[in-house]
Amino acid sequence: MLKIENLHASINGKEILKGVNLEINPGEVHAIMGPNGAGKSTLSSIIAGKEIYEVTAGKITFDGINLLELAPEERACAGVFMGFQYPIEIPGVSMVNFMRTAVNEHRKYRGQEPLLAADFLKLMRDKKALVEIDSKLTNRSVNEGFSGGEKKKNEIFQMAMLEPKLAVLDETDSGLDIDALRIVANGVNKLKTKDNATIVITHYQRLLDYIVPDFVHVLYQGKIVKTAGKELALELEDKGYDWIKKQFD
């Protein structure tokens, strides 16, 4: 589904990614871990299409198409979802209007008619229940005045609405208390099918108690330096990143 080959990227002339290789297949959950500054958020931003990064070498293909040639909105419509580490507040744009526009832009991309108002509202209701998000939140402006936990729940709600093939969740666990973490993780698990895939980017092993990965990758100094099964996360929790750092510094 997603294939990243020898990806090099820099910002303001400083190289952050130095040859990342990663392959994700349908039905898989991948966790990317690593110390601060390893390039984890850079990788997710590049997949989503943030323009401040310059890709200097390598390629990313998604379902056989060159992802790097697509605009961010085209990537989203093609089925790539990015869960933001810091979701943006958009005062004055209601959640309903935001989601209706997003859903209908996805439909347009697939050559479908826009959803009827009643069908859309039903979809909202169903997905709200699925991810356990409060109706009060979806009646407000996008993320405006939401707590950290509410913002992250809202990301999962949007993911449920848009049903992406590939979700990249960038430190979705940061700033969450244990209850919110459970709700967010449950949402992700419920949305899992044999046809979609998830990349979970995290610092800590804790989230992976709830979202069980098939593969754990360690990103360090702009490269994936280690890949293993879920037991790697436990090992990292136990030994810390110094253990990895020593091997590569």
């Binding site: 989503a48 299409g49 943030k50 605009a71 961010p72 909105e73 989203a76 419509c77 979802f81 990015m82 933001f84 979701p87 943006i88 507040e89 958009i90 005062p91 004055g92 744009v93 209007n97 935001f98 526009t101 997003a102 832009e105 996805h106 991309y109 402006s141 996008v142 949007q158 848009l162």
Partner: protein, 462 residues
Amino acid sequence: MIIKEEIKNIVSEFEALHSGQFASVVAATPAFLKNIYNQSIAKFKSIGLPNRKNENYKYLDIANLFTKNYEKAITPTQVKVDINDIFKCDVPELDTNAIIILNGFYFSPDGNKINTLPSGAVVGSLSQAIIDYPELVEKYLNKSAEKSDEGLVALNSAFIQDGVFIYVPKDAKLEKPLQIIHLMMESKSIMAQHRNLFVFEEGSEGKVVICDHSLSPSEFLTNSVSEIFAAENAKIEVVRMQNEHNSSKQLTNTFIDQQKDSDVIINTLTLHGGTVRNNLFVNLNDEGCQNRAYGLNLTDRNQQVDNYVYINHAKPNCHSTQLYKGVLDDEAKGAFSGRIFVAPDAQKTEAFQNNNTMLLTDDAQMRSKPQLEIYADDVKCSHGSTSGQLDEDALFYMKARGIGDKEARMLLMFAFAHEIISKISVEPLFERVNNLVEKRLRGEMSRCNNCMMACDTNQKNN
């Protein structure tokens, strides 16, 4: 910049018109009005027209707008076609009592120039009211405006002929919103100056919608004055929608005079227009008054929109809010100048002023000057101003959800403008304005009438 000598010439031309052709047209006018004429023309002569040397007009050379040779509309326009054929208000569910002012004069196809509504309110032509209700008109006409030292106001007062007269008696409520449609339609370039007088007596209530339109592609200059009197406990909402073409110059001067516990909302939406200057003067003359003034301008190409607001907190315990927003595209220019004046004994005043502008290009320009002048020591006042671009992070967030660049920008701009639109309480109008603003922001035609003449586009000298 236009120089003093040129202003003198313009003033002299108006004087000649005043003592010549105009004097003969208004020969039968009652004495009180003739007094207004004489005082006002003398005042106009001494003040003249503002140019950029005037601090309040620093960014818009008003005098320069008068250098073009407009024919002055001092007699009603004879219309050969049925105006209903070419103009139909396109707010279908807007259940209003509609009044048309054509080139500054009350337009009445059936000759009926003034009506008494079931509520007891009197609504119609000012010129007819001068004949039918001379005492009422004399009591109020020019009473706010005469205190002003604006040349434009004196100019309008020197030539008062017609406009809309509204009188709502004590405790009466206007059944429906009144809709005033100011139309400019002429094959020549003309200047018109209508004069509106709204009197709301004690405890009365009403909503007034004012629409400014241009229907033919000629160049127009409008210099209008509206005086609004709100007696004790009166509640008034005025929504003004400005939608003229690129060759029009529109100058509005609105006076709001409020008495004890009165509540006035005025919302000025400038959707389109070549050059627009709105002056708003609010006097809070007694305790417990509330005034809310809102403005929104959507300005593109080389249009220019200036808003000036003066709020006089003369007495204690009054509340005022001003919120003006603008979206400027292309090479558009905008200016906002607001001044809240709090008199020495106006304690417990609450006054808040804000101006926010969104600049869509590097060439758009906004000048903003919110000001507070406070002489009392126990007040709550604030003022602020922002100008900025669309939030790039918010744009990316929307794109990451599949929303394209154009649509994402639209959503953000609309969200920005919506705060002002949401203040409109006239229901179907609110919906329609929402719609119009969206169309306008999308760069589609924003004309809100089924006008057959596409005078909006392909203007020379726009």
